[in-house]
């Protein structure tokens, strides 16, 4: 899922500084699960902004609403009236949610309340880690199901580099060396021979390097149009 974290309150105050009516919009999907932008966080953020702006002598109307998914029109349509009445919409969705609101309500001013961090998973309560870089050309089949693009600091395809020590990456003792993990797993599964093959330069065109990406499924599209 998409992992995000809240922006500091001072930054939020700056983002809404010019508005009298603020609508905080939470999202019920990924950012709810990572405790960054669900209904609970939306309520807390709205209350904090009410208090903070009041203390600053610049009291604002701050209300909140949470939709099931900010990244789908049908859920956004349910809050059309509230969005219209707000001077600024503070989205607690990921970057996709912010842009979805902008696209659906082009006359509204929308600002982000979160920093969208990465695609990952919770390792334990309160700890999240990156797992996927959405490169568009998955190589997990070559690396024992451990992604060196997302998890090796240098995204090496022919790792490990010389900076692997005691299982961690030289950039930070808290970062496990992805290639040590790959090596250990392939070793355990008796597939180390895979690592002897030279992996050619990657086609990064399917990643962000090919420009903004889009998928068109004509089969689904036609079905939708005919339906």
């Amino acid at each position: 899922m998409i992992i995000a974290e809240q922006k500091p309150l001072n930054e939020l105050k700056t983002l809404i500084a010019d508005a009298a009516n603020v609508l905080v919009v939470g999202c019920g999907t990924c950012v709810t699960v990572c405790f960054a932008g669900g209904s609970r966080e939306a309520a807390i953020t709205a209350a904090s902004l009410r208090m903070a702006t009041k203390l600053d002598g610049n009291s604002k109307q701050v209300s909140e609403v949470t939709v099931q998914r900010q990244c789908e029109w049908e859920y956004l349509d349910q809050i059309r009236e509230q969005v219209k009445q707000a001077d600024v919409v503070l989205s607690l969705g990921c970057g996709i949610g912010v842009q979805a609101i902008v696209e659906r309500f082009p006359d509204s001013w929308v600002v982000p309340g979160l920093n969208t961090s990465f695609l990952g998973l919770p390792l334990e309560q309160g700890v999240w880690a990156e797992r996927c870089a959405a490169c568009g050309d998955c190589i997990l089949g070559l690396t024992g199901g451990i992604c060196p693009i997302a998890r090796c600091s240098k995204s090496l395809l022919n790792g490990p580099c010389g900076g692997s020590e005691a299982g961690h990456c030289e950039i930070n003792p808290d970062v496990p060396c992805a290639w040590q993990l790959i090596y250990d797993r392939l070793s355990k599964m008796d597939k180390l021979h895979v690592l002897l093959e030279l992996q050619p330069p990657k086609n990064w065109r399917t990643s962000r390097d090919g420009g903004p990406r889009k998928i068109v499924r004509e089969d689904l599209r036609l079905a939708y149009q005919e339906g």
Binding site: L156, P160, G162, E165
Partner: protein, 345 residues
């Protein structure tokens, strides 16, 4: 070797290649470009190394700190009559920039190339920079070998003019984790086209001998020239720092004790009790011992089957190279007849 030799037998015709091909025990040095636009620094360091090494590595923004480019500094070295081994990392350039820079480097007279992935930018003085890592060091070796042997760019387009014919090197970290994979990774670099290998600093000779045994078992020592990395210790603190903080470097306690013993006459005194002269004398004693240790390391490494030379890393202490090379009995350096690679012949 996967690379096809040209008719006269040379891939690049560089001095380093000739020295190695003729069976001499090679000596390479290292030169760190300045954090400024001062070319005089390169010329002064070159004077310290001239005649004592067969080629000089020019680092490429080592430890991710911005310095004069390795190709710019390499060009000054060529003008000064020394042969550079240009280091090229994958951190700062994508495949377009890498190939373009290599064409320029070759046109400027550079003939040896060491292909590296590069230190991560978070270590350096621009930690907020975006990194590249479009390709990795092994892919870089293959790219440069393909330019030379297949006469193609990475995209597959053929050269219409002369191709760059580099003597291609790569690095090896014999003691980094996972240690069992290290000989295989070296073999992978050779398979990609590395004609010479320069290793991470070696202080633990038995550990390196064990590594070399595995390398010989794979037959890799017959497909590439392996230069063992050595460097003079400057102080006991430096030795301990490397032992404890630098991944992939083993420093035996015995060497740390030797360094400490060299400074023993001053050991009883507290920091404040040491005069400037004391400190200078102690530094001199440490440096003398560091150089002596380095000489002994070279002599022991030379006995290991498959070691074709040494790579002396004395960055910011280039003065040490002369006594090390002389002390190890590697002076004077062989003068070998100039040979050019086939494409130029």
């Amino acid at each position: 070797m996967t690379a096809t030799l040209s008719k006269n037998g040379y891939l690049s015709g560089s001095n380093l290649e000739r020295v190695l091909r003729l069976g001499h025990f090679a000596v390479t040095g290292e030169l760190g470009p300045p954090q400024s636009a001062d070319g005089e620094v390169i010329r002064k360091k070159a004077d310290l190394l001239r005649g004592y090494v067969d080629a000089v590595n020019i680092t490429d923004n080592q430890t991710a700190i911005v310095r004069m480019s390795s190709i710019g500094a390499g060009s000054i070295l060529v003008q000064a009559g020394l042969e550079p081994v240009v280091q090229m990392t994958c951190r700062d350039r994508n495949r377009l920039a890498i190939q373009s820079d290599l064409l320029g480097a070759y046109a400027l007279g550079m003939r040896n190339l060491l292909c590296l992935t590069g230190d991560h930018q978070t270590f350096g003085n621009h930690p907020t920079a975006k990194n590249v890592f479009d390709i990795d060091s092994i892919q870089l070796v293959k790219l440069v070998a393909d330019m030379r042997d297949e006469r193609v760019f990475q995209c597959g387009d053929a050269f219409k003019g002369p191709e760059p014919r580099f003597f291609i090197g790569a690095a090896a970290a014999p003691f980094a984790d996972p240690i069992d994979f290290r000989p295989y990774r070296l073999a992978k670099k050779v398979k990609a086209g590395a004609s010479f290998i320069q290793t991470q600093l070696v202080y633990d000779v038995p550990a390196f001998a064990a590594f070399m045994e595995k390398v010989r078992h794979l037959g890799v020592h017959k497909q590439t020239y392996i230069l063992a990395g050595v460097g003079p210790l400057k102080s006991p603190a430096m030795a301990r720092y490397m032992k404890n903080n630098v991944p992939g470097i083993l420093v035996p306690d015995e060497l740390i004790e030797r360094m400490e013993a060299a400074g023993a006459p001053w050991a009883g005194k507290g920091k404040d009790e040491l005069t400037k002269e004391d400190k200078k004398a102690r530094a001199g004693a440490w440096q003398g011992e560091g150089i002596q240790i380095c000489i002994e390391l070279i002599q022991r490494l030379r006995q290991i089957d498959g070691v074709a030379g040494v790579h002396i890393m004395a960055i910011e202490w280039e003065e040490a190279v002369k006594p090390i090379v002389e002390g190890a009995g590697l002076y004077p350096r062989p003068v070998v007849k100039a040979q050019v690679a086939e494409a130029e012949a």
